[in-house]
């Protein structure tokens, strides 16, 4: 599966990439909102999941990435990473259709494994959604044929 990791810190991007590659995913990196928008636009096929930091150049960086991702493919799932004090922004992303958010610093929790799990769940939802879409498409085609 194709995943894009967006964060302004190189160390964070590579740590996340390494973890997700371990699960067999293909991972690209973007270092800013603008970089992400470019890569999302150029992607073909579109990314299955985008993991993005909330605060980068702007306080609303995560929201911008979310908009770019669903603008390219409505079924791309977006997971937002938040540091201290950004939960309110993350909830805003959820309202706009993000799959979930993950807090970077949860004491005693291996957030990387948690993130890997969320990515798996997001991929599952995307698969289900795409399957539903295909079925609906099929049903429409069958119905249309029956009407002829």
């Amino acid at each position: 599966m194709r995943i894009l990791v967006v964060d302004d810190e190189e160390t964070v991007r590579s740590a996340v990439r390494r973890r997700l590659e371990r699960d067999g995913h293909t991972v690209d990196e973007a270092e800013s909102e603008a970089d992400a928008a470019e890569k999302i636009q150029a992607s073909d096929p579109s990314y299955d999941v985008v993991v993005t930091d909330m605060v980068m150049n702007s306080e609303q960086g995560g929201v911008e990435v979310l908009k770019s991702a669903v603008g390219r493919d409505i079924f791309t799932e977006v997971i937002v990473l938040t540091a201290y004090g950004n939960v309110a922004n993350a909830v805003e992303c959820m309202k706009l259709g993000a799959f979930d958010y993950v807090e970077k610093n949860i004491p005693g929790v291996d957030v990387y494994d948690l993130l890997a799990m969320k990515v798996a769940q997001a991929l599952e939802r995307r698969r289900t959604a795409l399957a539903t879409l295909r079925r609906a498409d099929q049903i429409m085609k069958v119905t249309a044929r029956a009407e002829q």
Binding site: A15, K104, N105
Partner: protein
């Protein structure tokens, strides 16, 4: 005898020539261009001519030492020696016509000195003498005007009366002069104190100015430490100077403590007879005190301390030298100006603290975020390590993870270091410092050899020293150098200059100017705020730390360059005022 007062003797009523002499003398007294000394000198000559005396002098009381000193002389035969001799003899014996007049406060006249019980011979040719006291508004003898003649019975009652009138005018002029001096001292206090940055300088200036306007033996300033409820000696001119920061009064203890407790002044000529007196810390032996004024230094909402002035008791009964209501009013006015200045010090401290507090709020949120991010990255490396440890893995696979871990921890430490610097930026450990030397030192340490940036130094010689924390200022200068180098990667110029910021040299300006891209107008206000950075290193605290350090020195820093022309940082620091040898650089 024409032109003299003697004419009036026969004529009765107001002698016309006498009126002319008065006109001349009162004009002299009104003169603003001439000093008191010049005026008294001229008056003495006029008065001597008017009474047709051959020799004359004015002796003035020296309240500080309780002496009567011959200050002005007219006529023939005066020299340094007999001026001094006359003074000594009259003091030692308690005899002498001058001392007698001073002691009684009444005029004295003798037509034949050879039979006079008070007369002491200094000039062989003297036959008659008249002396009148100069009595001030408080009925105190300020001095004596003395006339001598080689003729017997040279002086009449009218001469004596004329001289009394002259003496009264002289007393008025002395009073006016004293008031003028006090007014000037108060104006100068109000005007100059604002530019001082250290309370020690302020105390010294206050004591100097008070000393110029009122004679006293000693004075001390005690400040209240509210948390302990004690007054602590902060400055003293005389022998209490050794007990600065040690001599203490509890509030309410002794006269000084009473003044602090009640916020009211105390004036006494004999502290020992005052029931509040404890005699804990004294500028003079208790029996030597001839006058004491202790007034509260009052700030905006509380008593800040006590200002105390002492005068030595005169050895001579005829020189009463305790303080007057005028003296007290002057000290009260001085103390209230001092109170306002101390208040302003406190305010500046609070403003800086408030700015730092605001920065702290942003700081804690920001640093939590940044530290959180670093820890997140470190946890990622740990996750990888655990994963690798579950399988057989080679050292080559481990190495990059460990390296990344190290980098993560290092960046955490970098944040901590910056954090610590921000915290201690306003805590100074100061001493007199030569800015020029400090700049040269800082540039030697921090200016890179092969940067492609040319360094131009233009240091103004003979600047007064500043009271500064050398290591903190060095840190400021290094930060500005680093900034400039970073923004002139392709090479350029850094020009560092110093100069007096004011003609009085009470502030020094330091300018760091480069040919880099400069600061865009919209960023000028932001660059000194914490976390504003266009670079990725650290937390962006660099210039906010610089500003914190300069603020704590009671200086200012501004960016006055033009975008596209280069950056220009202008720092102004207060110089140490009135330090002996301030014209030279501090060593």
């Amino acid at each position: 005898m024409s032109g003299s007062l003697a004419e009036g003797r026969e004529g009765g009523g107001c002698p016309v020539a006498g009126a002319a002499v008065f006109n001349c003398i009162s004009r002299l007294l009104l003169s603003h261009e001439r000093s008191l000394n010049d005026i008294l000198d001229a008056i003495l000559v006029e008065a001597m001519k008017a009474v047709e005396a051959d020799r004359a002098f004015i002796a003035l009381a020296d309240f500080e030492h309780g002496e009567l000193a011959v200050r002005f002389t007219a006529g023939a035969g005066w020299n340094e020696q007999n001026t001094a001799l006359r003074l000594k003899v009259s003091q030692k014996t308690g005899r002498g016509i001058t001392s007698h007049v001073a002691a009684t406060g009444r005029p004295y006249r003798t037509g034949d000195v050879t039979t006079d019980p008070y007369y002491i011979c200094h000039f062989d040719d003297v036959k008659s003498e008249v002396a009148v006291p100069v009595v001030n508004a408080y009925g105190r003898v300020e001095g004596v005007i003395n006339m001598e003649s080689v003729r017997p019975d040279a002086f009449s009652g009218q001469h004596e009366e004329f001289l009394m009138a002259v003496a009264n005018l002289v007393a008025l002029r002395i009073l006016a002069d004293q008031q003028e001096k006090r007014q000037a001292a108060l104006v100068s206090l109000g005007r100059e104190l604002a530019r001082f940055s250290r309370s020690a300088d302020v105390f010294r200036k206050v004591m100097d100015l008070v000393a110029s306007a009122i004679s006293f033996e000693d004075c001390s300033i005690f400040l209240l430490r509210p948390e302990e409820n004690v007054l602590v000696l902060e400055a003293s001119r005389g022998r209490l100077g050794e007990k600065v920061h040690q001599a203490r009064y509890r509030v309410g203890e002794g006269i000084t403590g009473w003044v602090a407790e009640h916020g009211k002044p105390v004036r006494t000529r004999d502290p020992r007879s005052d029931p509040r007196w404890r005699g804990l810390h004294e500028e003079l032996e208790p029996e030597a005190v001839g006058g004491l004024i202790a007034v509260p230094i009052v700030g905006y909402d509380r008593v800040l301390g006590v200002f105390r002035v002492l005068r030595r008791r005169s050895q001579y009964a005829w020189v009463p030298n305790d303080f007057t209501q005028d003296d007290e009013d002057f000290i009260v006015a001085t103390a209230s100006i001092l109170g306002a200045v101390l208040d302003s010090f406190e305010l500046v401290k609070r403003v800086i603290a408030a700015e730092r507090m605001a920065a702290w709020g942003e700081m804690s949120a920001r640093s939590a975020h940044m530290i959180g991010n670093r820890v997140f990255a470190i946890k990622g490396d740990l996750n990888e390590l655990r994963h690798l440890s579950r399988q057989e893995c080679s050292a080559e696979k481990l190495a990059p993870v460990i390296e990344s871990l190290e980098k993560g921890v290092f960046r955490l430490e970098e944040i901590l270091a910056e954090f610590r610097e921000f915290v201690v930026a306003t805590k100074l450990n100061t001493s007199p410092v030569s800015l020029n030397e400090l700049l040269e030192e800082a540039l030697r340490e921090s200016f890179p050899r092969n940067s492609g940036v040319r360094l131009e130094l233009d240091l103004h010689p003979g600047l007064p020293p500043v009271e500064a924390d050398a290591s903190k200022l060095r840190r400021c200068f290094s930060e500005l150098v680093e900034n400039s180098i970073n923004f002139q990667r392709e090479g350029g110029v850094l020009r560092v200059s110093t100069e007096p910021a004011t003609p009085e040299k009470d502030r020094i300006r330091i300018v760091f100017e480069d040919r880099g891209p400069g600061i865009p107008e919209e960023n000028k206000k932001l660059i000194f705020r914490p976390f504003f950075s266009t670079r990725s290193k650290g937390m962006g605290l660099g210039l906010s730390i610089v500003k914190g350090i300069i603020d704590a020195h009671r200086g200012t820093i501004r960016e006055t360059g033009e975008e596209g022309q280069g950056a220009r940082f202008e720092i102004e620091l207060p110089a140490i005022a009135d330090l002996p040898g301030a014209e030279r650089d501090a060593k």
